[in-house]
């Protein structure tokens, strides 16, 4: 087994009497595509925010890229990339300006910035659009660009919070090709999603229900354990008893 880049042990986050995240434990290995599933309000986002260094857990232990979530938030931030369901580039900046900005903020050395931006734009086939405002690109392109920007500084782990919301199936497929490529390059991918067909693409998935991890295994093993043919049914079996729903 490769190195563990994310470890969680009995991680809990309470808001008042409410357990948003209740005693969850899991490990993620380097280069793995780790799916994080759950209905709205199951606690996915809260758990993810803790792992990204945006909030502190109430109890339990967790480390990301070898750094502790309580004491080394800043070090964690230097080693991760992040992309959220809300579209996350600046619309009134050009493609090139967005890459330069986020590259700069995430600390890509100035000497490399220019050459690597050029390479990225060429790879995405956006050479003619480099000087156009992001607002003028179709949504699918924006999402792909946002993902590329999120891993532009070569982080150890990239967190994707429902990255394919509102994107057509073809673009979603292309998007997953990019995720595979990133994973093949050694970047660990931690992805939350609503789409159960996407869950099938993951190496392993966790399914969260009411703040707890109800299942954690590869999609194939989960399907045979519940004796069903699709992840959709696995999810339904586990989530139908959920008490919480909605945000």
């Amino acid at each position: 087994m490769a190195d563990k880049v994310i470890t969680c042990k009995n991680l809990t986050k309470k808001f008042g009497d409410f357990y948003a995240v209740h005693n969850i434990s899991f490990d993620v290995s380097q280069g793995e595509i780790f799916g994080f599933l759950g209905a709205n309000g199951a606690g996915k986002t809260t758990a993810m925010r803790i792992l990204c260094g945006l909030s502190y857990p109430t109890s339990g232990e967790a480390s990301v890229a070898g750094f502790d979530v309580y004491t080394q938030q800043e070090r964690i931030k230097q080693n991760i990339g992040y992309m959220s369901q809300k579209f996350s580039l600046y619309e009134n900046l050009t493609v090139l300006e967005n890459i330069t900005f986020f590259g700069g903020v995430y600390g890509v050395p100035a000497a490399q910035l220019k050459e690597r931006s050029r390479q990225l734009i060429a790879k995405l086939g956006l050479t003619n659009e480099a000087k156009k405002l992001v607002a003028s690109l179709p949504l699918g392109w924006k999402q792909k660009l946002a993902f590329s920007v999120a891993i532009f500084h070569e982080p150890k782990i990239v967190f994707l919070d429902e990255p394919t919301g509102g994107v057509d199936p073809v673009t979603r497929r292309q998007f997953w090709d990019m995720i595979y490529e990133a994973a093949a390059n050694g970047i660990t991918v931690f992805v939350t999603t609503h789409y159960m067909d996407e869950a099938e693409y993951c190496d392993r998935v966790t399914i969260m229900v009411d703040g707890k991890v109800e299942a954690l295994d590869s999609p194939g093993n989960l399907k045979s354990r519940f004796d069903v043919t699709s992840m959709d049914e696995v999810f339904y079996r586990l989530a139908r008893n959920a008490v919480r729903s909605g945000d």
Binding site: C52, G53, L54, S55, Y56, E74, K77, Q78, I80, Y82, M83, S84, Q85, K86, F87, S88, L89, Y90, E91, N92, L93, E97, T100, F101, F102, G104, V105, Y106, G107, A110, L133, A150, F159
Partner: protein, 368 residues
Amino acid sequence: MKQFLVFIRKEFFHVFRDKRTLLIMFGLPLVQIVLFGFALTSEVKNITLTVIDNSRDLNSRQLTDKIKSSSYFVVNESNIDYNDVLKLFKKNEAKCALIFPSRFGDDLKHNGKAQIQILTDGSDPNTAKTVVNYISNITSAYQQEISNGKPLEYVITPEPRMLYNEEGNGSLNFIPGVMALVLMIVSTALTSVSVVKEKELGTMEILLVSPFKPLMVLISKAVPYLILSLLNIIMILVLAVFVLDVTIKGSIILLFLESMLFIITCLSLGLMISNTTNSQQTALLLSMMGMMLPTMIFTGFMFPLENMPKVFQWISNIIPSRWYFLIIKAVMLKGLGFGYVWKETLILFGMTVLTLTIALKNFKTRLS
């Protein structure tokens, strides 16, 4: 440091590519200067005065001529009677009228005193008062003139001087007011909107997940607006000096330092607002209603604070722009140095520290 510069550059891109922001930032001061300077003047000029002369003698003629020769009135002499005048008022065709009684000249000669009646439209009290003042002044000047040979026994001639503003230039009072108002709008509203916009777009999360420190995110958001606000001050001052003939009497450096202090107050208010809301509309509404209105009412440049009920006077003390207005007036118009405004500066400084602390504290607690 490099991250900081990258961030500021990005912020300027935002401002210069958004026509609405540009319009608010540079169009608004221009419009306000022109409006306050030329349209909203409290001086009364060329007002039509209906004169009904029932006496038609030497004295009534002379007095009418005096009034005609002043620049304030356009005299409209007519033969209508008192009731017709009232009709004119009702139809809004007359704002003021002067009526000489039938024995005006005789009374003046034989009794040594006579009366005239001034009618004004009290539904517009400011103009009415001004008109009454003008006519009274002209009348008393005329009175002195005709009693020349036989001097009045006791004569008191007031010689008024308006200190710091001898010509009665109305621009002097509102320029500092416009400065306060514009800074409030640019710094508070635009800053809060620009922070909230990032929250709406989801880019704020990306920035907070980046190694860039949250505090630095706020500072780099504020710095471009600080620079733009200073540009704004320069623009207003240039307009004031070259278009409205205002002379800046005090130190320009002091003026800028005090303005910077006030801008920081406004920026912190803007950040405070952006901490409490997640939608651009709310942020804009809060800064417009919550900041602009009190600025207009409680700063003292539109309505004199001394005339307000005590409660409102107390409230005015917690409005930062009130103190800024006092400082700018003292420095710009009276030419006073820091020695005269240190108290006001200290109050403003206290407010700045307080708002900034609250804004930053709030921002941090919302993160965890």
